[in-house]
Symmetry: D2
Subunit: 426 residues, 4 copies
């Protein structure tokens, strides 16, 4: 199904007077503070986040999974879901595919469908953390790191295959999340598996088209619980440097040990020109993959403060690839994604409101109190009206979740797809 | 299949001379230090740990599962597996069932089978963290804590049903692991769900036979990632007190926040007479459910030091129910359990070697250096020969894993059960 | 020195028009949403937080301390500092003393001085974590828990002495933060030290005046790094129950293991009528004692959401004693405290804006998305204008930090007290 | 004072028969397993660990400090203490100085004194985390990272001064532990302080003598509690690479976030030839600086397993500089250091007992169970007799702590130095 956005716009008309009144009051206040509100709204409107194809159905834990109704059962339906998200929010303008879960039978057709929803293809994702039916060599003990040469070669080839599929679709990057690791001390020789991984990544890198990027993800633990080959940004950064200029580190917010200062990692990577991609989610304990901004919204703001700073001051760093990587165990996946998009844009907007000049000056004088006041001045501002404004200007909904509920979209999806359709993937 | 232990014993005969020589040297050394070696070996021989029925197949993570071959496909085969473990190790003398995964069709027959392997039934385990096919009310948003009265009643009745099944088998306790919790702030009213849980547990407690115990487990997170209703020992202890004298706290080693001092919790609970059960495993990051003793063997020793102290000094506390609760993702489940049993007995034995009198005296004098020397004197002792001795005296194998491999048991299990048999449960 | 608030008010007059315009716009918006803004402002104005006497000078770490200028050198100056804070913020209406750092020579005179600043005496704090010059028995190995009977008796008597001093000043509660613990496994017998602590607390409790309360603090580690006798809320709650109805648990935000769900602890304690006191600060790693709200403002909001709920729904719980317990290593201590007060009142105000009725209804329906929307609706509101309003109505400053800087108060304090005056205490 | 080791040896004579008997039994067992016991003992005897000059007095926390008696009051006495340690243990053959705490007035005399104790000078340590009396520019807001050019230059010069002092003494390396960081978000511009630090380190590196090494330490937090400029190994490694081939990363066991896999970091650094130095201690919560091996001895073994592997397989990595960096708050500092030395040598010896060939083979076959068996076979061996043997062969004490107590050395130190002598430094 495709959403009839005119019905939403019709409904929103009644609310526009109230919105306008509040918006102009806020805009006026911000202008007095010296901000160029129009420009800020343009930046918000331009900010687009990719949705991964596996995030459209219910996720689960090792203890089980509670299905959601009307999940998309094939790639076309997944694209339709992202299309709907984008129509309502105007900020989900890309889709990120996972191979082998989303191999397109007819790439041209899929490409056209995606375009018809106003979407592009973000990074391609390979999968060597599971065995597929009839797979020759198991990844139980590793893939790109494996001491089994045949398993390693198979994993390298799989990644090259994913690049080839991506080329047909117009994607420009490959994300390698390498789950490889060990559950027990002694299981792996750390130096051997790191060296194997280096070699494998170099072989994949060698097959990268000229205008592509390679994103190397890191994670300290899970699915293995003693060690992970690419355990932290330092390892990813080292591997990316060894691969070459088209290789970058990818930061996933949930892939850190307790209390890690992630914003500092972001700043370091951008300074070195090596922050390639970013996966958004939130967490309290580990890689909980909760809705973005649901647990630590201030941390998200601090991270965006570095991202905005880097985008403005680090020409050596490419524009990063943004993606939501969350798991929806108890919420409607589409509503969950809308809440995530809102949180991302709120943090981004607040970061845009940081008075960088005043901050620099307070830092120079070690006026710690003032530094905090400046950040809080931006963070405490209620920016929801700016987001609404940007959405409406782009042709989206004033309140995407309300629109989604008013239009009873989930109900229609269930009618269309059946109650027990299950999304492929996690 | 049933193991032919005489073949093992035959093989071990050749190794006995070497074992004897080393054993007598160690025993002699320990006797000189004032230990009653015979008594220690008797204690080791008497120490029995329950095996849960769901630990006999490969576990997995939310990212997937790599099956093991020859897994037990039904309750009878699970009992056979535990029987084998017990025959080799002489320390796995009980099995702990999980309902509905292990509902016995003919309880009397199952009871007889279990007895024939020299096993008893340890605590029964209920399951309200998953929905079963055709279940009327979902546990997606909680069971004993649920705001949905019908779901709550269904969960209470399920626990009562589990007690009834247990009665038929001769079990004497019910373990309630309550996964109930929330993924997001605001999802639950903390006071409401705690009160509901109290009420539900009291209703279950009211149905407990006179000679039964109720074990209340706690866990800070997973499968929910913002809050868990019974998040820590304090909550479990409070609930157990409210239920009554037959209700106890159950400690699972993996169910704690980073850096928790678990041995202190053990000491407090035993002092208050409320430590009912104990689940063994090991972990580096969260509830990793790794082989016991594979990550932090010294912590395990410190915990056993408190357990031994409590067993000797706290008559107010019942003898705890011991169980291994690990997940076997990369090792042969039976070998993994043998390594866990060895680790448990080593820690127990070393704790038996702590010179309690000298320790008390050093503590009185705040001789911190000496306190550490006393613990290390016990911990550094190589006690493997004492474990071997106890096993042989009980009729088990000198080296269970070697025997398991020499007899090619897994190979036979695959022949018998098929390569792709999958254990029910997690 | 005493602040001349009329100078502040004079200055604020020029800003009132702008404030009024923005305030009425916000108030109007909130009234439309159904809120009683006048009542909310009254609640903000009534909310008073105690300042501890040791927080008025620079703190330090084990690696050293960088002094601040013009620190208060005696109790009178400390009271003057809190008086100034209160004059500007109208929310620091109490002082919490630490004995022996703040023994008043003439209690009546101190009482009168305090009253003249509009302040009352909050909880008294005892100190058994340091040895004082000429102290007979050392606390190096513990105080209330000590195996040395004389050290224990000395510590008990010290606490009773603190009560007696507090009685003279009009305080109504004693806070016991017990640092007692061990650096090494084996150093303490957990059961012995817990029992000693129970006995000691009971003896102190027995000396408590009829209208006093005893607050028992907990902390997992520091200054000892293996175990702390009162390591968590469960232990504190157990001890409070054993002491009697006037004994309560005190929650300090920094005294938890990584990732602890503190708001759930708050809810449980209030439900049981046992939350007595609250110490505010913020932290990223351990007991960092940073400015309140500087690291995790959303967590603070979630905690206040439970506090507000409890104050409205738990008559069994007394009104809690609020105190800031932070350390000021790099900021001006007074400015730091003003930032903390602002953060506390912001979180409190946002919690007052939670639509409790709608939340309850969404919880009943397990509408997790809506539950989050309701919390975020309150949290995202920019409430700074409400705080300004409450301050002005009470006679304080529109912007306390700006007023503090405009009046050059620190400069005057340095002139008055000298550049190198050092506050007694930490 | 200097220890009369002949008195110790005299006393040990009586115990040699028992030692010999047990030693030969163990040696025989190990030889049967294929080990070259003589070679292992030689390696143990050769292993020397530096003692830092600041570890000879009692440490403290921000809450206070309990002094120890007879602490060394000057550099000569510190050297005497280390000399005593070395005489008893034969494994503390170096001292590591801290400037400005240990500036030698007459370097030649100090050099001779040190040599007379059989000691050498290990790495020099600079100090820019405290302000010294009369210091011109404060380090309150940073040193090598400072936005204040003068403070930065002063800190660079201080490090160069430390090199110059070290040259006179015969040291060959400089350790830079940079405490620089921030307590609050926004306080520092991450990119600016990192860039300043790079530049400063390069200037120091430029002044390094040809045969010197620069060790760059990292630490996630403390004394600052929001961010540290060199927060992790990745940052240190990056900075070391930028400085040049004589710059290395230094690993301090306590300087990691919870649950970090340190052994993997060690393996990576050695593979890259960049592990320069190692600071030993133990911890449960943060940088607790407890006695080595007192909390997580198995982790220490796993780390030594990587160190031994690297020393045997990574010619690209220099032989690392070993140092104990612990704080002695409740134990006699000298006894504490003896316990630490014992723990280090035990872990090293056990790592030498790992059957590397069998391990490699089991890893190749992904025989995870066997990998663990191999590590445990080494770890469970009671190696204390090997340590005794190595000590005696080198002329040390059978049991250093017992000798220290029998000779009543602390009593004599108190007589000599006074009860209230306080060591300079932390």
């Amino acid at each position: 199904m495709k959403i009839d956005i005119s019905r939403v716009q019709e409904h929103d008309k009644k609310l526009m007077e109230s919105h306008n009144q509040s918006f102009y009051f806020l805009a006026n206040t911000l202008e007095k503070q010296g901000f160029d509100v129009e420009n800020i709204i343009k930046k918000i409107a331009d900010f687009q986040v990719a949705i991964p194809s596996w995030a459209l159905g219910a996720g689960g834990t090792r203890f089980g999974r509670f299905s959601y109704h009307g999940e998309p059962g094939n790639l076309e339906q997944k694209i339709a879901d992202v299309g709907m998200l984008h129509a309502l929010t105007q900020s989900a303008g890309a889709i990120s595919l996972h191979i082998p879960w989303d191999v397109p039978e007819d790439p041209e057709k899929i490409k056209a469908l995606t375009k018809s929803h106003g979407l592009t293809f973000d990074a391609m994702n390979s999968n060597t953390f599971q065995d597929q039916p009839n797979q020759e060599h198991s990844y139980k003990f590793g893939s790109l790191c494996s001491v089994n040469t045949k398993a390693r070669e198979q994993a390298i080839q799989h990644n090259i295959d994913v690049i080839r599929i991506g080329e047909k679709l117009g994607s420009k990057s490959l994300t390698v999340w390498l789950a490889d690791g060990a559950n027990f001390p002694g299981q792996n020789n750390f130096q051997t598996v790191l060296k194997n991984t280096q070699d494998s990544l170099k072989q994949i890198y060698a097959q990268l088209p000229e205008d592509w990027k390679l994103f190397i993800e890191y994670k300290p633990y899970e699915p293995y619980f003693y060690s992970t080959v690419i355990q932290d940004w330092g390892t990813s950064f080292m591997l990316a440097n060894e691969c070459g200029p088209k290789a970058y580190t990818l930061v996933d917010l949930g892939h850190h040990l307790p209390n890690t200062n992630i914003e500092q990692i972001v700043a370091t990577l951008m300074m070195k020109g090596k922050l390639g991609g970013f996966h958004f989610n939130d967490s309290k304990y580990g890689d909980d993959d909760l809705t973005v901004g649901s647990i630590k919204p201030y941390s998200l703001f601090l991270i965006f403060n570095e991202l905005v700073y880097g985008m403005e001051n680090n020409p050596q760093n490419p524009y990063p690839a943004w993606m939501i990587d969350a798991s929806h165990n108890t919420k409607d996946p589409l509503e969950d994604l809308m809440q995530s998009l809102e949180a991302i844009l709120m943090a981004y907007t607040k970061a845009l409101l940081v008075d960088q000049k005043a901050l620099k000056s307070a830092q120079q004088e070690n006026d710690v109190v003032e530094c905090q006041e400046i950040l809080h001045q931006a963070y405490n501002t209620d920016v929801r009206l700016l987001l609404e404004r940007a959405r409406i200007l782009n042709g989206g909904a004033l309140s995407p979740i309300k629109a989604f509920r008013n239009l009873e979209i989930r109900k229609q999806l269930v009618l269309e797809r059946g109650k027990h359709s299950v999304a492929s993937g996690l």
